[in-house]
């Protein structure tokens, strides 16, 4: 309950509500640019109003403008405006460069390394570990501990994607065949929405993910759960569902650790039931949504690589029970 309360209102996607040092620097830059630009706008409008008013006054008084006096005045005004523009642009340039310099180096503290691979249209998330059995893969949900820098190794499987979690850090492109690195640190626990920020095809808009920032203890517990192979349920319906999964089309693309399903074309489903959303943040992870997604994904995300699956109602029911047992 406390967690739910803590997370409520935090499920947002705003660069102006930073939850870490990276995003805070970006937010400061935004506010700085906003304030300077507003001041310039107000000054320009004020000068325009003042000039118009003075000209009207002069006309009312019947004064005639002295050409000899007007010329040097004009030169002076233009010089001042040009100088101010150059100074402001220089200030922007220096600030921008200094923000870039502050944010680019990965902090020297030993960071957590996560490999993120972009796919059309979902995110593969692999947690690197020194031992092979400690490594695990999940999808569309990135758990990070608070107060520790997280280093991301970014790749793409097909086209250029871009990862963006406004509350935590700026964007970084995922380029096929070229490894990029990216990092952020979350200081406030919460649920932050991320989104692909580079148009990548039909379902670009439905290529979202969630970052779950939680206390180091909670994170460690989550990791130890994710490192386990899939639970083998003794329930007869779930066993039947497992059989449907392994003999049907599901196993052609998805993998479940601890079973013979090992294809990596689609998202890893070993702990599917522990995730909050399905189809890359498109639907909540409920039984109904899962059923709709399995039977007719092309209605929800036209063009997605998941094909429609015609299953017998009994088989679908068993499959759903099995998938929901994958905690």
């Amino acid at each position: 309950m406390m967690l739910v309360d803590g997370l409520r209102g935090a499920l947002n996607q705003s660069a102006l509500e930073p939850a870490g040092p990276q995003a805070a620097t970006v937010a400061h830059l935004w506010w700085f640019a906003f304030i300077v630009a507003s001041a310039v706008y107000l000054a320009t409008m004020g000068a325009l109003w003042w000039a118009a008013r003075r000209a009207r006054r002069r006309e009312e008084r019947g004064e005639v403008l002295d050409e000899a006096l007007a010329e040097p005045r004009m030169t002076r005004g233009v010089t001042w405006a040009t100088a101010a523009t150059i100074v402001i642009l220089l200030v922007f340039l220096v600030t921008d460069l200094s923000v870039g310099r502050t944010l680019s180096p990965v902090p020297s503290k030993r960071p957590l390394t996560i490999e993120v691979t972009g796919h059309q249209w979902w995110w593969e998330v692999a947690y690197a570990d020194t031992s092979p059995h400690g490594r695990f893969t999940t999808a569309n949900e990135i758990h990070v501990p608070t107060g520790r820098p997280v280093l991301f190794v970014l790749n793409s499987q097909d086209v250029i994607h871009s990862i963006w979690v406004p509350n935590l850090a700026g964007k970084k492109d995922l380029i096929p065949g070229y490894t990029q690195s990216w990092w952020f640190q979350a200081d406030t626990a919460g649920l932050y929405r991320g989104q692909c920020a580079e148009f990548c095809g039909l379902q670009h808009a439905k290529m979202a993910f969630q970052v779950v920032a939680e206390s180091p203890d909670r994170f460690a517990r989550w990791v130890s759960l994710q490192q386990q192979p899939a639970m083998s349920s003794t329930d007869s319906t779930a066993s039947r569902g497992r059989e449907v999964f392994l003999t049907g089309p599901c196993a052609m693309c998805h993998s479940i650790e601890g079973t013979s399903a090992g294809s990596h074309a689609g998202p890893d489903l070993t702990h599917l039931a522990s995730r909050r959303t399905i189809a890359a943040g498109t639907l909540p992870n409920t039984r109904g949504a899962l059923a709709g997604w399995i039977v007719d994904p092309q209605r929800i995300k036209p063009g997605a690589n998941m094909p429609p699956n015609q299953l017998e109602p009994k088989d679908l029911d068993a499959l759903l029970t099995y998938l929901q047992s994958l905690k």
């Binding site: 049907g248 089309p249 693309c253 074309a265 036209p302 063009g303 690589n305 429609p308």
Partner: protein, 195 residues
């Protein structure tokens, strides 16, 4: 000598109109290649008793074939190319060149190269190695694979074929499959056609 400017006009206009109409029709005809059909369920074919090789006793029986549902749609052909890799067809057929499995770059196949024959080969499996994918690959995806496999030997329309394949080509030096034509003779000595 001056020619009157009005004299050639009707002819020129008629010519321009004709060219315009032809261009428009050509454009309309090309529309089909990009039509993406996400939510349809094309029929699966029933097992046919077609004998296309002389491996079995009796004469060759091969009648007219209906085109595959996706043969001329570039999008579905490229989807078939993706699935060809995903489902590890390349593991045996090596991007069409053949390895453990027979090559797919010519159109003379043991079990037939017509759309429904390829469909049945994928779904039913074939002796000596080809597994059955019945219940494993959904029907629309099987048809996409059929369309791609047929494009390897240039059996579908030119407009639907991939122009950017990095894989093996029909003829050495042909820049892409787009340039490949149906082979007039087999590259392999006759003995190589028997597995």
């Amino acid at each position: 000598m001056r020619t009157t400017p009005t004299a050639p006009r009707p002819a020129v206009r008629r010519l321009a109109f004709g060219i315009g109409t032809i261009a428009l029709l050509a454009t309309l005809a090309a529309c089909n290649r990009e039509q993406r059909r996400f939510r349809e369920s094309p029929p699966s074919t029933s097992p046919s008793a077609v004998r296309v090789s002389a491996l079995q006793p009796g004469t060759v029986q091969d009648t007219a074939h209906a085109p595959g549902p996706y043969d001329d749609v570039a999008y579905h052909v490229s989807e078939g190319q993706r699935l060809f890799g995903w489902y590890n067809c390349a593991g045996c057929h090596a991007n069409g060149g053949g390895g453990m499995g027979p090559p797919l770059m010519d159109e003379k196949w043991i079990y037939g190269s017509a759309p429904e024959q390829i469909f049945n080969t994928i779904v039913q499996g074939r002796p000596n190695g080809m597994p059955s994918f019945a219940g494993k690959i959904p029907t629309p995806q099987v048809w996409e694979l059929v369309a791609y496999v047929r494009s390897l030997s240039a059996q579908n329309s030119t407009g639907a074929r991939s122009a950017r394949s990095d894989h093996m080509m029909m003829y050495p030096g042909s820049g892409s499959l787009q340039d490949a034509t149906t082979p007039v003779k087999s590259f392999h000595p006759p003995a190589a056609e028997m597995p």
